[in-house]
Structure formats: C-alpha cells, structure tokens
C-alpha cells in the first residue's frame, strides 16, 4: 500500500519531465522549469508546516509562561515576538529560494 503511494508520488513528480520529453519544443527552458515549479511548491509546503510546528511550540510555552506570571507578560511577549521572527526567517529563506526558482530561474 505504502509502496504504491510512493510510486504514485514519483509518477506525479515525473509527469512534467515525461510530458516535456514528448514535446521538447513546447518550452524553451527544457525540463528544469516545470520541476522548479514543483520543487518550489513542495519546498514551501514543508517549510510552512515545519515552521508552524516550531512557532506553535514557542507560542505554547510563551502563553504558558504568561499564564503563570501575568506580571511579566509584556517582556515575555517581546521575547516571543523576537523568537517567532527568528523562526519565521528560516521559512522566509525557503520562500526566497522558491521565488528565485520561479521568477529568476538561474538554471535553465
């Protein structure tokens, strides 16, 4: 069952390559362009999901700390926002790489 899922996933990944192998003149960019689109989408999906896990953990413990120490809520909130920004910047790097793949297309 699992192997068939993997095979189906590989087949989906391979479709643009196959399609372009049949019609090489359709796109001037060759086969890298369609794969770049796929990779950009998957990269954003993984980055967003894992970034959400990390940020969720950070926010959960910050809220926990704020509930225990309501007097220190302002400082905890500042620290939380800085931490969230630092975590989020990793996902932003992936976004930048995805945008480079989509719009700049350094490798043709």
């Amino acid at each position: 069952m699992r192997r068939s899922f993997i095979l189906a996933g590989l087949a989906v990944l391979a479709v643009p390559g196959v399609a372009l192998a049949q019609a090489p003149a359709a796109s001037s960019g060759g086969w890298i362009g369609p794969f770049a689109v796929l990779v950009a989408g998957f990269a954003m999906a993984f980055a967003a999901g894992l970034c959400a896990l990390g940020q969720g953990k950070a926010v959960a413990s910050a809220v926990d700390a704020m509930a225990r120490q309501p007097g220190a809520a302002a400082r905890i909130q500042t620290a939380m926002i800085i931490g969230l920004a630092l975590i989020e910047s990793l996902a932003i790097y992936v976004l930048v790489v995805a945008m480079i793949l989509l719009f700049v297309q350094p490798i043709k």
Binding site: T78, I82, E88, S89, I92, Y93, L95, V96, M99, F103
Partner: protein, 260 residues
Amino acid sequence: MSVIEHPPIFRLPGIPDHVTYTWVVMAILAVAAFVASRHVALVPRGLQNFFEVVLEQFQQLIDDVIGPEGRPFLPLIATLGLFILVGNLLGLVPGMNGPTTNLNTTAACALVVFFSYHYIGVRKQGALTYLKHFMGPVPLALKPLMFVIEIISHLARPLSLTLRLFGNMTGGHILLAIIFFLMGLDGLIGWALSGSPIGAVVGGIGGLVMIVFTVGFLYPLKILVSFLQAFIFVMLTMLYISGAIEEAEHHGGEHHPAHH
C-alpha cells in the same frame, strides 16, 4: 514577479521603481518632520504631539533593551524604524510600490545596521578589545574555532535582516496579487457591469465578497505584518547594538564571581 504585479502608477523614466518610491518615503518623512517641528511648543499639539509620542515609544524601547547608554542611538534606530514602517505601508496603497519589497532597499538598511553596530562597538571598547570578545569565554584551544564561528554568525546577521524584511513584504504582495488573479476580481466586476442579469447577480455578489474579504481580512493582516516587521528590524538592531556595547561589562561580570 513582474508577471503578476501591476506596475505602479507613478514612474520616473530611467530610474528603478524602488528608488522612486524610496524618495517618496523620504519626502513623506521630511515633510512630516518639517511640519511637526515648524512651531515647536512646550505644550505640544497636533503633529508635534504625535511625533513626540512615537519617539517616546522608541526611547522607551531603547531604555528597555539597551539601557540608558543607548539614548545617543535614538536617531539611527528611530529613522530606520520610521523609514521601514512607512515603506511597508506605502506598498499597501493601491498604485504605489513599497520600497521594502525590493532586495536592494532592505540590504541597504541591513548594511547600515551592520556597519554602525560594529562602529559603535569599536568606538566604545577599542578595536582590540572588541575583536577579543569575538572569541568568547572558552578555553584557549577553542578560541580560533570560536572566532571563525562568531565571524560567520556576524556576517549572517545582515543577510537574515535583509531576507526577513524582503521575504515578508514580497510574500505578502505576491499573496495579494495571486488572490486578485485567482479570484478574478477584474472578470467578476466586468461581468457585473456587462448588463446581463445573471452576470449582475453573480458578478456583483462575487466581487462584493472578494472586496470584503480583501479589505476586511487581508489588509489588516498586511498592516499588522508591516508594523511587526518594522518592530522586529528595530528590535534586532537594538539587540545587536547592545551586544556590541555590553560585551565588556558582561564579560567582566562573569569573571567577578569566579575570583571570590
């Protein structure tokens, strides 16, 4: 990006758009500062009052993060914060172009931060002492390794400042552009105005839902992100400056209990 985004309404020939809109931001800030400080009164009114509140917020933040010795850096920090905030918000005005959605503008801001916090650290502690603190409180054998790691981490700071601001702003703009494009606002409104009754009902309702969604949900989100990114840029600037200033005292404080 130029595929899905509209060009701004106001362009100067031969000059890139982000430079033009950087000048727009500078003009807005300069005019506001001029009007606010034209009749400086002891009891502030109007724009002067507003700017005093804003700058007192910045000063409060500096006192919290750096401490009283951070007061001389208020002009640098507040200018960066106001420039980035106005630049972020300008990108939300239809037909305008936010200068912070371009990598060059954010890289310029980050490089200003990078060079100024090193300059502040060297001015405060002297070049040799400042360099010595790159090695950290580790045994002698590990000091060269620590030095290299610290250099890399300091070089990564402007990179991450640049990419964070640029990515957040550009990502938001691409999101807006894609939602406009996918939901077909142009098509829906064109259908509503085409005269056919079904088109008027479907297109009118669809266009209205889209406008309410955009104005009610996406714009507040983007305004929040604009403020948050300006705050984070300023906050990290202050953290870097305080790291450059306080390293000597912090280091001495660590040695003190060890001698007793």
